[in-house]
């Protein structure tokens, strides 16, 4: 070697390498996850649609019998529009919680930013979300629901949904590294969470004295927002949405900082 390269500096942190490389790692892990999930299934990504659809059917049977729980739109599309974001959140958090432990093999043997693993779990659910959301487009003409200008809010709501999902997944996956009890706790918690979020029922039917508690659940604003933008085609409840957005950002920031503080211990305790 005749060319002289400037000597590299000694640093006590991992060398910053191109973000592009880590972005591709995220994509690769996501692909690996999706492939693993749907390999050797006949129905493939169809299961992503079947899950909210089946729950919609159950909700329709049970809740639509209640007098006028939803007045202005057909109950099935009302429920389905809430269930699609919900199942994205549920599945991402559920598999994300176990993800670091599942990938223990690479966590204990190579260096890379650890958040890529839970993030890849969230990303791998985007495909499911897309598939399930497509069905909304089919259901809308069927139930005679028309698109309004408020549909332009959907991308922003989607970003909020992903941000909150990432925040929760970072927290639960990191905690699960230290105590495996986290995983069952999360599973039970998610079951309850479904019912304290206005998915089967609208926020407007929540008794006023409980509304404050329901509103501090960031998913309330997000799911109500999706419904306003897509199903009702009207202006969302801005106050509710603003509360949800600020709580989401705060949770995300807190979760990320905590995750980065803990991640150096992962390889030791996992």
């Amino acid at each position: 070697m005749t060319t002289m390269v400037a000597p590299r500096r000694l640093i006590d942190d991992a060398e910053r390498i191109q973000p592009a490389a880590y972005w591709e790692l995220l994509m690769n892990l996501t692909r690996r996850e999706v492939k693993g999930r749907y390999s050797q299934t006949l129905f493939g990504v169809g299961w992503a649609v079947a899950q909210p659809l089946a729950t919609m059917a159950v909700f329709t049977l049970v809740f639509s019998r209640l007098a006028n729980i939803v007045s202005d739109v057909p109950y099935p599309i009302f429920a389905y529009a809430g269930l699609v974001p919900w199942f994205f959140f549920l599945n991402a958090v559920n598999s994300g919680t176990m993800s670091l432990v599942q990938y223990r093999n690479i966590v204990t043997k190579t260096y890379f930013p650890r958040e890529i693993i839970p993030l890849s779990q969230v990303c791998s659910r985007l495909l499911d979300f897309g598939a399930a959301a497509t069905l909304v487009a089919v259901m809308m003409p069927y139930y005679g629901v028309s698109v309004t200008r408020w549909a332009i809010l959907v991308p922003a709501l989607f970003v909020l949904l992903v941000a909150f999902t990432v925040a929760v997944t970072l927290l639960t996956s990191a905690a699960n590294v230290f105590y495996r009890d986290v995983s069952p706790v999360v599973q039970i918690g998610l079951q309850l969470w479904l019912y304290v979020t206005p998915i089967a029922y609208p926020y407007s039917r929540v008794p006023p004295q409980w509304r404050g508690w329901v509103a501090i659940n960031p998913l309330t604003g997000i799911i109500e927002g999706f419904r306003s933008a897509v199903v009702y085609g009207r202006e969302p409840d801005w106050a509710l949405l603003a509360l949800s957005a600020s709580l989401t950002l705060a949770t995300l920031a807190g979760a990320f900082l905590l995750f980065k503080r803990l991640d150096r211990y992962f390889a030791d305790v996992i």
Binding site: M1, P7, R8, R9, L10, I11, D12, D13, A14, E15, I17, Q18, A20, A21, Y22, E24, L25, N28, L29, R31, R32, K35, G36, S39, N105, I106, V107, T108, K109, T110, Y111, F112, F178, Y179, D181, R264, Y265, A267, D268, V269
Partner: protein, 425 residues
């Protein structure tokens, strides 16, 4: 040497682990209560004993590695070698002290750790190289090289669950060395794979060193360490026992290993062994020139193998044979066979036979004795001791120092060089 910039610096690095299982909720509450009451101490559990005990995997380790060094790391299991690599690769963080690294680190703590069996070889190359921080375009450029080196062209579009473990490891190694590292950490991963691949792997690591990259190489195969590395660190119980020139440290390490393995030179002979049993060895001892049992024999000194025997029935002119076998390679270095004149025509009862090697031209390695008793025509084996006592050959002064690198080979032949200068007229 000192002009080269530093690639790795460890500054008083310690790494502590909690021993035993992680704490349960009850233990956690108990220790919290103790702390609140100002009585911080280890928690004891009836079932599991002391819980909060900690172990030091590394204790106050400091050293520098210059760029372009091949550094071997040797030591017994649990000496802290792998922890060292994990700290340098940022997989884990030191409890105290600092680890400084210049450049990109690629660790081969396990080959193909990032591979997914459901994905094809091609997809896994991208996944694995991505873990080492390469972008798709960079991998595209090296792809053919990676596949060629691993020799998996035919199977590259087959899911890796169909690969043999050797093939799996080969692709893992190939991805790692082709991902443009500045520092490569290799942890005893060359044990898999066939001899041809091992040789190519060592060659490719050598090329990296020649290109100014830094290679840290953990191996129990001292000969590979010496072939690859110019410097060696000997780790012992979480600390650096010795470091320096490879041949030197490796020799001292081997002598230590040999000395420990040979604490009892009078190992009992295995009770189940071959042979027809008319006459058998009862005990075999390696003794020094003064007749004392010895596990270590100095280079060039005499060696006496003292073997007691017991004949169940009278045996006509038995032949005693002592073979010296190199422990690491299994190569028979030399065989000594008694002639009929050495023993009585008929051997009965018990007795002792000495096999005396006047001077031992053996290199400093560990050897095992293989001993047999046969009939005069060496057709019937009365007794076969496949693995008798062991002994190690050490330097005369016991320090392990030497003038030239004479490490390879099994025997020391006496030699001299004669240099004839041809004068042009």
């Amino acid at each position: 040497m000192s002009s080269r910039p530093t690639a790795i610096r460890l500054d008083r690095v310690s790494k502590r682990y909690r021993a035993g299982r992680s704490r349960t909720f009850v233990d956690l509450i108990a220790s919290t209560v103790d702390r609140v009451r100002g009585r911080e101490r280890s928690v004891y559990s009836l079932a599991r004993g002391k819980i909060d005990a900690t172990v030091f995997a590394l204790r106050d380790v400091s050293f520098d590695v210059a760029e372009g060094t091949g550094l071997g790391i040797i030591g017994a299991n649990g000496a802290g070698k792998t922890t060292l690599l994990k700290l340098i690769s940022r997989v884990t963080w030191p409890t105290s002290g600092r680890v400084l690294v210049a450049g990109r680190v690629v660790s081969l703590i396990e080959l193909g750790a990032g591979f997914h069996p459901e994905l094809t070889g091609r997809e896994n190359v991208y996944l694995g190289a991505g873990l080492f921080g390469l972008t798709r375009r960079e991998i595209d450029r090296r792809f053919d090289e990676i596949v060629q080196f691993a020799e998996v062209e035919r199977l590259i579009d087959t899911p890796m669950k169909r690969y043999s473990s050797g093939l799996y490891a080969r692709l893992g190694f190939s991805v790692a060395v082709h991902s443009d590292p500045d520092i490569v950490l290799v942890d005893e991963v060359l044990a898999v794979g066939d001899a041809a691949f091992r040789r190519r792997a060592i060659d490719s690591l050598r090329r990296l060193i020649a290109d100014g990259k830094t290679v840290l190489f953990i191996s129990h195969d001292i000969w590979n360490v010496r072939r690859l590395c110019d410097q060696v660190i000997w780790m012992d119980e979480g600390g650096v026992r010795a470091s320096g020139a490879a041949a030197d440290v490796a020799d001292r390490y081997m002598e230590d290993v040999n000395a420990r393995a040979l604490v009892d030179p009078r190992n009992p002979l295995p009770s189940h062994r071959g042979g027809t049993g008319e006459i058998r060895y009862t005990n075999v001892t390696v003794v020094d020139r003064d007749g004392r049992p010895a596990a270590l024999v100095h280079e060039g000194s005499p060696l006496v193998v003292r073997a007691g025997y017991q004949a169940a029935s009278p045996v006509t002119s038995p032949v005693f044979q002592v073979a010296i076998v190199d422990v690491d390679t299994g190569v028979v270095v030399s065989t000594a066979t008694s002639s009929p004149a050495d023993s009585p025509a008929i051997v009965e009862g018990s007795g002792v036979v000495d096999c005396i090697f006047e001077s031992l031209p053996l290199r400093r390695r560990q050897y095992v004795l293989r001993m047999t008793i046969t009939d005069a025509d060496q057709l019937v084996s009365y007794d076969v001791v496949a693995a008798g006592p062991r002994f190690a050959v050490t330097a005369i002064d016991g320090t392990g120092s030497h003038t030239a690198d004479d490490g390879e080979g099994l025997v020391s032949l006496s030699y001299r060089f004669a240099h004839h200068v041809q004068v042009l007229s």
